[in-house]
């Protein structure tokens, strides 16, 4: 059995990365097998057991992750250990050195292994996952010493690696649906995805998420599932949507200067359990004087809006991701969505569009 202390080299290089990652997984497995569960999270397509001593993180994860109400199975599909320096014999996480500045070199070092990893320089954070053992470790310098985006999308790297290995994909998209049939809203940050999703939720539409959703193309259908409960809007967006009072702004904005909230804070039951995806919408802010318009757009434009941010925001799995995103684009009709400024009008237009989908 791996001793946690034995993976505590002061520095890791690309050459030592595979052995270091394998050692960290072995050490995490030895802790997990001692039985220190914090939570078992029944998520879409994944029952994830979270282990460790950071109860605050586990509670925050339960709030932010889209946990299915039905409960999980007795055994989990994957396990992640949350560990900080000094816990369970783990030393301080080592520094990554000598990488140059290129993430592809980092990924290439693990390409022929069953291991996946990412390293956060600012926080000396290691996320490491073994795709065969389905064991991961989030190794920090101290409890809560995490990047600011982690709170809104906890454990995202592990979810990405687990689902990619299973042929599913976390897709950078918002979603809106009606009666179970829906559309992916794709585009980079600032294109209007989140605002449109929240507007739709406020006006009777369904959604499985406003930023990242799980897409499963198996079985001849393309379905989207919620991953995170978190919805986001800046202060101006909250005022425009008329929901500033509903969600409360006392907690202050996140690292993006946006306020995070959930469906339930909007007085809704919650995100939909899934959507049958029938179209891609590429939103664009049209300006004050325009009514919302939905018109066909080329698949190339849809691919440009869908793929790059999803590929480059997530650690690894980029080569396989290009083909997955291309398949999604080829499977669906694609439309531009020129957004008007009235949330009710935007939502009504999208509702009509969704209702007319085959």
């Amino acid at each position: 059995m791996q001793s946690p202390a034995s993976v505590g080299a002061a520095a890791v290089t690309l050459e030592t990365l595979p052995a270091f990652a394998a050692g960290a997984i072995a050490a995490a497995a030895s802790v997990i097998h001692q039985g220190i569960p914090l939570e078992t999270l029944p998520l879409a397509g994944l029952d994830l057991s979270v282990h460790g001593a950071d109860a605050a993180y586990a509670v925050a994860s339960r709030v932010r992750l889209a946990v299915r109400r039905t409960g999980g199975h007795a055994t989990s599909d994957a396990a992640v250990l949350l560990v900080s320096a000094g816990q369970y014999g783990f030393p301080a996480p080592p520094v990554l050195t000598g990488t140059g500045s290129h993430m592809r070199a980092f990924e290439a070092a693990l390409r022929d292994t069953q291991l996946r990893a990412e390293y956060g320089f600012d926080h000396r954070l290691w996320n490491i996952y073994d795709t065969k053992k389905r064991i991961g470790v989030q190794w920090t310098t101290a409890p809560g010493a995490l990047p600011p985006w982690e709170s809104g999308a906890p454990l995202r790297a592990f979810l990405h690696w687990f689902h990619a290995d299973a042929g599913r994909r976390l897709v950078h998209a918002g979603t809106l649906g009606l009666a179970g049939r829906g559309a992916l809203l794709v585009g980079k940050g600032g294109s209007g995805k989140s605002g449109t999703v929240v507007a739709g939720l406020c006006h009777g539409l369904e959604s499985v998420g406003d930023d990242y959703v799980l897409v499963d193309a198996s079985g001849g259908r393309l379905r989207a599932f919620p991953v995170f409960e978190t919805l986001k809007q800046d202060a101006a967006g909250l005022r425009r949507l008329g929901i500033s009072d509903a969600i409360g702004m006392g907690a202050g904005p996140n690292w993006q200067d946006k306020y995070e909230f959930t469906c339930r804070e909007l007085g809704k039951a919650g995100l939909a359990t899934d959507l049958d995806v029938r179209a891609i919408l590429v939103p664009r802010l049209a300006g004050e004087a325009h009514a919302t318009r939905i018109e066909p757009v080329s698949r190339a434009r849809a691919m440009l809006a869908l793929a790059p941010s999803g590929l480059f925001q997530m650690p690894g799995e980029r080569d396989s991701g290009v083909a997955v995103f291309a398949d999604i684009v080829r499977a669906l009709p694609c439309y531009s969505l020129d957004l008007g400024c009235d949330p009710a009008e935007v939502s009504g237009c999208i509702a009509q569009f969704l209702d007319a989908l085959p």
Binding site: R301, P308, D319
Partner: protein, 143 residues
């Protein structure tokens, strides 16, 4: 006579491409840059991927009004963006009839759009900043 000739190939395994209804979307997984080729530009990339002689292709494509300069400029951009490189190891083939028919049927300007907005996300720079536009961490500038 074209300054470009011979066989060219995609510059590395990091250059990935997908074609949708005659238009290529190209992603450089190493730099984070991505590209959109118009249908008429995509014909040239089709020929490059087929191993056709670039000089021969440029001659065919140059038969249209303004075609020679536009396609030379396009090929220069493919090179400048390090999407293709010369392949001296393999002989080029002459453009075949299928490709020639496609080339003579093109219309519209042969353009390549270059998108560099996500390039910072692929850099494992030791220092990162948060950028609202990107939605996730990006490399901090000014360092």
């Amino acid at each position: 006579m074209s300054q470009y000739s011979g066989r060219y190939v995609t510059a590395s395994a990091d250059i990935t491409f997908e074609k949708f209804d005659g238009e290529y979307v190209v992603l450089n997984l190493a730099t984070g840059n991505y590209y959109a080729l118009s249908p008429s530009a995509s014909v040239l990339l089709d020929g490059i991927l087929a191993g056709h002689d670039v000089a021969g292709m440029l001659a065919v494509l140059g038969e249209a009004d303004g075609g020679a300069a536009a396609y030379h400029d396009l090929f220069g951009k493919l090179l400048a963006n390090e999407l293709v490189v010369a392949d001296a190891a393999q002989p080029a083939t002459e453009p075949d009839a299928t490709w020639r028919d496609a080339a003579r049927g093109v219309c519209g300007d042969p353009t390549i759009e270059v998108f560099e907005d996500l390039a910072q996300l692929i850099l494992a720079d030791p220092i990162h900043d948060a950028a609202e536009e990107a939605g996730w961490p990006v490399a901090r500038t000014g360092r």
